[in-house]
Symmetry: C2
Subunit: 173 residues, 2 copies
Amino acid sequence: MDTWKAIDSIRVVREFADRPIAEDALNRILNAGRRAGSSKNLQRWRFIVVRDRERLKKLAHAGPFAAHIEGAALGIALVMPDPCAEGAPLSVVWDLGRAAQNMVLAAWELGIGSCPATVYDHAYVHELLRIPDDQHCEYVLSLGYPADPSVLQAPKRPGGRASLSEVLHEETW
Amino acid sequence: MDTWKAIDSIRVVREFADRPIAEDALNRILNAGRRAGSSKNLQRWRFIVVRDRERLKKLAHAGPFAAHIEGAALGIALVMPDPCAEGAPLSVVWDLGRAAQNMVLAAWELGIGSCPATVYDHAYVHELLRIPDDQHCEYVLSLGYPADPSVLQAPKRPGGRASLSEVLHEETW
């Protein structure tokens, strides 16, 4: 799938088919994240792949909008050094956003949908995934084949995004 | 270009050919950013396209590693609501990282290279680009055709990224 096509056609998938993601597909998705550029090439990210159904069910309670994790083929917890620590640079979060976008696009090319869930209950997730205290998990990506495969070819929702003229400035704000 | 190929082959370009980026290519790059998913679909981003050579030269002084902006075909200043404000969520920065990754991949597919520059002197950039006080510009993307087109087909640099086993955990950290 052409890069632009993936960027333009990707949409969030929250309902997943009961079909596992093969190892080679998962490896590609993980490598897409790993290959992302990062500030000073620091690669301050770790990926925790969760496939155990019981753990996914628990992870679905990480926040109010995380229920989709329960039915995902797998979840990838995206972990970074604590971005709220004194003096932590913004680039930790920015870099991880770039890595995540690589992952969801690589997945979409393979017909695999995804949805990021925001972690609200950090203590809960830290214990569940045994994340060290100096690390932080703000997002978990749900991944899986869409329950409704027609989403892969669905037209864009009208009004889903602001127009370019609303977000664009020329030369100065 | 296949999505995976773009993700796998993209590299940072800091030296640019003296060749403008056509409107349709720029529009695609900007739309790639605009189309990115964002937390609650809030799309908290603005893009300032800078093409004026004198302004690019000035923008190249935004930080110690921003010199590449001077020779870029254009720069895109990525602006978000102040992420350092009291109670600002991390998602503002994460979302913008996702949008930026869409932009650099869409550019790469068109043979256009890019490099993000971190802004260090925020007061300077705010004045230069007339950015409102409640907004924040942490990054400027340089974009242009590579001075050395062979970079588009160059092999990966060995050791450029940590191996997957170094960043991956299974089920728990």
